[in-house]
């Protein structure tokens, strides 16, 4: 019983995973999976962003760069071999994680806006490289043909009648759910652990933290790596979902906006914030796109951002929790 209490969160994760799986088996309206995929992807990106941005206070403005490099790693792998989607995700995570480590080293003396602008610059440099890298389609874009009936470890994953999932999009939805749950678990583990406390000290005052024995550089590097890696994983699923990727899509400004707006709307100080923000803002965006057939859906996003940051200065969770409020 005490074991159950100790692993309450992990059990919750498992329940969520089973729930996501059950959803794919219920023959729900397929739109649920499309909208769900988009919201889950946002949730994962926002969670990954928040590990660095919320806990350590380092604003990453180059989310698109990490996502894009994840996407393009997957594309390179598809073009180079017939790697399965799981391998693509791992590779995307590793490459983006290395990029995170690199940017961490490179910008270790940068703080605040300088760090933010440096990450933005990095995203633009990566995009330019991809534009000129014809093996992955370059600026012309690339069309991906997902395997029709993929198998994983001998299990037929997608097949109309015989597969675990009857449809590829349901499989991707489940995959995205699993990745998101994993990210949330990682974020929460960091938050509740020594790393999270160290990052918090860095956010509050980096020099004081360093003088209090917090190895700030090491913690920052670990964090940029994890955060970048998770973003890369979220990006690696993208080519299979879109089947056509070009740099303006993979490096869209929208990612930078959402990845910082969502945690902020939810609340940056805890793992629940980004999820809440992603669900709120992501759902509104998804719904607005498919209900308003004009430019007004962009207006809604704009108004929502302005109203939210004004009305809930500490995020949605800030309304409910006094903790960490200044």
């Amino acid at each position: 019983m005490s074991l159950m209490r100790q692993y309450k969160f992990e059990i919750g994760c498992l329940v969520a995973l089973v729930l996501a799986f059950t959803m794919t088996q219920m023959g729900l309206n397929r739109f649920v999976f499309f909208a769900g995929f988009a919201v889950l992807q946002y949730a994962m990106i926002a969670t990954a962003w928040n590990i660095l941005g919320g806990y350590a206070g380092y604003i990453n403005f180059g989310t698109a760069g990490f996502l894009g490099i994840g996407s393009y790693t997957a594309i390179a792998l598809i073009n180079y071999s017939d790697a399965s989607i799981v391998e693509q995700i791992i590779a995307g995570g590793v490459v983006a994680g290395l990029l995170g480590l690199g940017i961490g080293y490179f910008t270790l003396r940068l703080k605040g806006v300088y760090f933010a602008i440096a990450t933005l610059a990095l995203a633009i440099v990566v995009e330019t490289i991809v534009n000129n890298w014809d093996f992955v389609g370059g600026a012309a874009g690339v069309s991906i043909l997902p395997a029709r009936n993929p198998e994983l470890l001998g299990v037929l994953v997608v097949h109309k009648k015989l597969g675990v999932f009857s449809n590829y999009k349901e499989f991707l939805f489940f995959l995205m759910a699993a990745l998101t749950i994993m990210s949330v678990w990682i974020a929460r583990t960091i938050e509740k652990g020594k790393l999270g406390r160290g990052l918090n000290a860095i956010k509050d005052n980096e020099e004081a933290a360093e003088c209090m024995g917090v190895p700030t550089l090491k913690l920052k590097l670990i964090t940029t790596t994890i955060s970048g890696g998770l973003m890369g994983m979220a990006g690696a699923v993208f080519p299979s979902y879109l089947t056509f990727v070009d740099p303006p899509t993979a490096f869209n400004l929208e990612f930078a906006v959402n990845s910082l707006a969502m945690p902020m709307i939810g609340g940056t100080f805890t793992w629940l914030g980004p999820i809440l923000g992603a669900v709120l803002l992501g759902t509104v965006q998804q719904v607005a796109i498919v209900t308003i057939s004009s430019e007004l859906n962009l207006l809604i996003l704009g108004l929502l951002l302005v109203i939210f940051v004004i009305a809930a200065p500490h995020g949605f969770l800030g309304w409910f929790m006094k903790k960490n409020k200044r």
């Binding site: 089973v18 799986f21 059950t22 794919t24 088996q25 219920m26 023959g27 729900l28 309206n29 397929r30 739109f31 999976f33 499309f34 909208a35 988009a38 330019t128 534009n131 000129n132 370059g138 600026a139 012309a140 874009g141 069309s143 043909l145 997902p146 001998g154 299990v155 037929l156 015989l162 597969g163 675990v164 449809n167 590829y168 999009k169 979902y241 879109l242 089947t243 056509f244 990727v245 070009d246 740099p247 303006p248 899509t249 869209n252 929208e254 998804q286 796109i289 498919v290 209900t291 308003i292 057939s293 004009s294 430019e295 859906n297 962009l298």
Partner: protein, 428 residues
């Protein structure tokens, strides 16, 4: 094999008994009986904001004109036509969700594409998954990898669109004579890069020496360094595949810096738009570029296009629409891609039998506002029918001169030719 099966079964069981029960009760029939006179809903995504919105809004007006015509004639199969469409914000990421909503929630009868290759791509797996007919608008080789038999699209570039697009331009070059070297430049964007690849193949086929082959970022503000770098290579011809911003910048830079190349242009997107033509004015003189429709007398070949454009222009004026004042570029084509679909539906007598619809499309030669349309195996046109025009006699920045014949004379194909190709500098 046995272990795979048991494994699978086990996982399936994990999914729960509930799943099976729900599968049975899931909505199976999305079909609407033709007899009940419910309107036919055509669904699509369209770029109404973002980089491609200019084209998207113009296309949408063209489509609305078709809908008005179709409904005036009693609709399709005696049912009124309705549109269900959403703004994809020129962001491919929004496209899968939109098509899923159209098909699963709005339960539209037919789907057609938005405007442009990268916004058609993400819709492909969804329509293929459901095995339904899909009409594309200005997609470049979207079906190359899928090889889907129910995809058809309107872009008059022939079976190999990338090469077909510039094929005629290289034909027009021959008239100039003495072209031995060529420079190639493309915007770092999907359509432009594909055009340049095609042009490269055509240039090699024509035995031209490639002296310059580079790309530029779409947001480049100043093109004079590029034009000078090209001039330094002394090319006889300069093929440009550009997007609106670059097209305008290059036309200006060419006018300012000058060039000795005899032929300049080719795949410059945006010069067909009223806003740019008006803004560039006399700077355009001498540019040799692709086009789809120009107000030249020989374009009678496209029956009804002239009237259609006149109607569009009147509508823009009357309703004070904030779209392209002239509408030459997209209106006839947006009209045609629905017209072809409508003709097919009426001929087959069904909106549900996608096999029959696709079969009819494959075998038929259509006649629409853009003339004869015949689809090849994977839905591209069987022949390339881009026209090559040369800008000339442009005196000022007055918009009306572009709706008269003579400012964009047709150089190719020869059967509709209205002028002779002249070296760029002769028209400056």
């Amino acid at each position: 094999m046995k272990s795979i099966l048991t494994n699978r079964v086990r996982v399936k069981l994990l999914g729960g008994v509930m799943a099976a029960a729900l599968l049975l009760s899931a909505p199976i029939s999305t079909n609407v009986q033709a007899a009940d006179k419910k309107p036919i809903k055509i669904g699509f995504s369209m770029a109404l904001t973002g980089a491609l919105a200019g084209g998207g809004k113009q296309a949408l007006e063209g489509m609305e004109l078709w809908r008005a015509d179709a409904n005036a004639k009693g609709g399709l199969l005696g049912r009124k036509v309705e549109f269900v469409y959403y703004d994809d914000q020129t962001n491919a990421k929004n496209v899968p969700g939109i098509y899923s909503k159209l098909l699963d929630v709005d339960k539209v009868d037919l789907v057609v594409s938005g405007y442009g290759t990268n916004l058609i791509g993400p819709a492909m797996p969804i329509v293929i998954d459901r095995d339904i007919l899909f009409m594309g608008l200005f997609g470049m080789d979207n079906n190359k990898k899928w090889k889907y038999d129910k995809y058809f699209q309107i872009l008059p570039a022939g079976p190999k669109p990338a090469e077909g697009f510039s094929h005629n331009w290289f034909e027009a070059l021959k008239e100039l004579g003495g072209i031995k070297t060529i420079a190639l430049l493309a915007a770092d964007a999907e359509f432009a890069r594909n055009l340049k690849e095609g042009a490269l193949a055509n240039a090699k086929k024509a035995g031209l020496e490639i002296v310059y082959n580079k790309n530029y970022p779409p947001k480049t503000p100043d093109f004079t360094p590029i034009v000078r770098a090209v001039n330094a290579k002394k090319p006889d011809a300069f093929y440009i595949a550009s997007y609106p911003n670059g097209s305008a910048g290059l036309v200006r830079a060419l006018a300012e810096v000058g060039t000795k190349a005899k032929a300049v242009g080719g795949g410059m997107v945006g010069l067909q738009f009223a806003g740019l033509m008006k803004g560039l004015g006399p700077n355009l003189n001498g540019i040799l570029n692709y086009d789809f429709y120009v107000p030249e007398p020989t374009m009678e070949l496209y029956p009804g296009a002239k009237d259609l454009i006149a109607r569009y222009q009147a509508k823009v004026k009357a309703e004070n629409l904030k779209t392209d004042e002239l509408g030459y570029y997209l209106v006839p084509w947006a009209y045609a891609y629905l017209d072809v679909l409508g003709q097919t539906v009426n001929a087959v007598g069904s909106v549900d039998d996608h096999e029959a619809l696709a079969a009819y499309m494959h075998k038929t030669e259509f006649t629409s506002v853009v003339g004869k349309v015949k689809f090849g195996e994977f839905g591209e046109w069987t022949e390339s029918r881009t026209i090559v025009v040369q800008y000339q006699n442009i005196k000022n920045n007055d918009i009306d001169q572009f709706s008269r014949a003579g400012t964009r004379k047709i150089m190719f194909p020869t059967d509709i030719k209205t002028g002779d190709v002249k070296p760029y500098n002769d028209l400056r």
